[in-house]
């Protein structure tokens, strides 16, 4: 039995491109969370830019493990689950990490799960809080306690992971990202990774286009969503989102109608922003399952009996085509006065 000194937390720094040009807000949140548990290192598949290293240093990251995969591996396959899992498991073994934190996304969850399988580690997905039980260093392994919101946010569970390392995927907006009190100098270290030839071939991969100037739906602090009540006109929804600097989402019905491309819900995107505004959304169980963990819920609906009204902190009963533009104008006015 070894006495734990300071636990090491490894955070997966994912990037859609070969060069790591930005650090997503969700990753900064994980680094912030990781600092409460121990010393934070990151693992990445790409080369970080000077700006990225400066950001990581400001957030108190020590080492950046940059995976070196075999040159025979086509670049298109870097994001296959089996490849990512090899990178994550190798990094955990290499720096003897106690906790691996991965942003919760479908790809992130699969990679974390397969890495945990290979490491023999316990796995918690979609955690919304993490802490050591008792004093770190009191025992090895020190159980990690993980909070999770389940059944569309109606229940909260706490799990413990007794394995060392523990593998955890964490939902966006679990904490507010904050730079470290004392900055570090993040140092890049090459991480040789052996990868089995993947069984899956990536025939084609194209990055989705992002609405310019809008945050990503998964990790936005504010989300404005539209449903059937928009009747296909997302203009008022876009208007309010722009006034707030929010991401835009929709219900599954609205997406099936072809009115929008991404839906919030149990089988779509799960959001847990500081503020969620649902316009023309009744609040079917499917949609609620994807947004009920939001901190503040506001709804605008014609129908005072809609299930979402009861789930809201603030509800306007009225026509969204009137209410949303008026709210957007008042918010712009407020922002202009403040500036």
């Amino acid at each position: 039995m070894t006495i734990r000194t300071r636990p090491t937390v490894l955070v997966f720094l994912d990037s859609p491109q070969r060069t790591v040009e930005t650090v997503r807000p969700a990753v900064l949140e994980l680094i912030t969370l990781g600092r409460t548990l121990g010393r934070v290192d990151v693992v990445t598949l790409g080369a970080p830019t000077v700006e990225v290293l400066a950001t990581l240093g400001a957030y108190g990251v020590h080492l950046v493990h940059q995976a070196q995969v075999p040159t025979s591996l086509p670049e298109s396959s870097y994001r296959l689950t089996s490849v990512l899992a090899s990178v994550l498991a190798t990094a955990v073994r290499r720096n003897d990490a106690d906790v691996l934190l991965v942003p919760s996304s479908f790809a992130g969850k699969e990679a974390a799960a397969v890495a945990a399988a290979r490491l023999g580690s316990g796995l918690v997905v979609d955690a919304s809080s993490l802490a050591w039980t008792g004093e770190p260093g009191a025992g090895d392994p020190a159980p990690l306690r993980l909070g999770k919101r389940v059944f569309a946010g109606t229940w909260t569970t706490v799990s413990t992971v007794a394995s060392d390392p523990a593998v955890v995927t964490v939902r966006a907006n679990t904490v507010v990202a904050e730079p470290a009190a004392v900055a570090t100098e993040a140092v890049v270290e090459p991480l040789p990774v052996e990868v089995e030839a993947p069984r899956v071939t990536v025939v084609e991969r194209t990055l989705k286009e992002r609405a310019a100037g809008r945050p990503q739906l998964e990790e936005a602090a504010i989300v404005v969503a539209g449903g059937r009540g928009t009747n296909g006109d997302f203009g008022p929804v876009d208007d309010l989102a722009d006034a707030l600097g929010a991401a835009v989402g929709a219900t599954r019905d609205a997406v099936f109608e072809g009115w929008f491309d991404r839906y919030i819900g149990q089988t779509g995107v799960t959001v847990a922003p500081r503020l969620y505004i649902g316009a023309g959304i009744s609040g079917a169980p499917h949609h609620r399952g994807g947004m009920q963990a939001s901190q503040v819920i506001v709804s605008v609906n014609n129908d005072p009996e809609a299930p979402i009204v009861e789930q809201s902190d603030f509800a306007v009963v009225g026509d969204l085509a009137d209410v949303l533009p008026q709210a957007a104008a008042a918010i712009r006015e407020h922002k202009a006065a403040r500036a």
Binding site: V203, E218, L244
Partner: protein, 300 residues
């Protein structure tokens, strides 16, 4: 005349494609669909002693698994010959038979329930190990003359929403994993069959391909599950459900169930109720009231 030429070329391509599919017949005949029985999302879902309560009166086949059954049936129906088999497998106590009956109603050929006290409380890894062991047993049946070609699952179970079991089953079996498919195509030639899927995952659109055997998961946009017909509904009532134990699957009790779980749920409680909702009826000032609420709560 060009139209006729085009027609002839199309016919030739069509026949060549059909011939290609016909060669698949000896390759692809058996599909295992992994199913889960879950509490209805509109019911009063709850935990007792750290476990999800599975009330037989308020549960059903995980809705997303119907898409997996549909995908399996469509694949076998698109193949020539009638000697295909779709086997539904679930890991659960007998209450889950409702889920297997539903699969029978849709048209699967066999239903297997893996049931054992030693498997209760399994974490993701115990679950994947047990399901993979069931697939291996089916694969080896009758001297492996008809191995399993494909395992199909839904994209998530609506109770846990982990979405990791398909990837873990693929890892256990050492098979290719093609997850979260929104479209599925099977092509084959004499050398074997290739499964191609399209998917939208996180920040990209992808087309992935892999040789069989493989583990496939399908999203709720991949297909529209069929409604069972009367004949199948009647037949499903009396269809046998095979029951396998942990020992039947050669599972070590220490590695599965609560004994093997690497994570344990130690607390489960209903979330605190939200404060009473403030409702404003719009009489011309509703938007301003909304903005004021946001400003007052420092959300702008």
């Amino acid at each position: 005349m060009p139209n006729i030429v085009a027609y002839v070329v199309r016919q030739r391509d069509h026949l060549a494609q059909r011939a290609a599919h016909q060669r698949v017949v000896s390759v692809l005949v058996r599909i295992v669909v992994l199913l889960k029985y879950v509490p209805d999302i509109s019911s009063d879902r709850r935990f007792e002693e750290g476990r999800v309560v599975r009330d037989p009166a308020a549960g059903s086949l995980n809705e997303l698994d119907e898409h997996a059954v549909e995908a399996a049936l469509r694949i076998v129906e698109s193949q020539p010959g009638g000697d295909h088999e779709v086997v539904a497998v679930t890991l659960a106590p007998a209450t889950a038979d409702i889920a297997l009956r539903k699969a029978y109603q849709m048209g699967v050929h066999r239903g297997v329930r893996v049931t054992d006290d030693a498997l209760a409380g399994s974490d993701y890894f115990g679950t994947a190990a047990a399901l993979a062991a069931a697939v291996r047993r089916l694969d080896a049946e009758n001297g492996a003359v008809r191995p399993v070609d494909l395992v199909i699952t839904g994209m998530a179970a609506l109770d846990g929403l982990g979405s990791v079991v398909p990837a873990l089953v693929a890892e256990e079996l050492g098979w290719a994993q093609l997850t979260l498919a929104k479209s599925v195509a099977l092509d084959g030639d004499a050398r074997g069959a290739t499964l191609t899927i399209t998917r939208e995952v996180d920040d990209a659109h992808e087309t992935l391909a892999a040789p069989l055997p493989a583990v496939l998961s399908v999203t709720d946009t991949a297909n529209s599950p069929r409604y069972p017909n009367f004949k199948l509904i009647m037949a499903a009532r009396s269809k046998a459900i095979e029951e396998w134990s942990a020992a039947d699957l050669g599972l070590d009790p220490a590695t599965v169930g609560l004994a093997g779980a690497r994570t344990v749920t130690v607390e489960a409680a209903p979330s605190p109720a939200r404060p009473e909702v403030q409702v404003v009826v719009d009489k011309g000032e509703g938007g301003k009231a909304l903005a004021e609420f946001l400003i007052r709560n420092d959300l702008v």
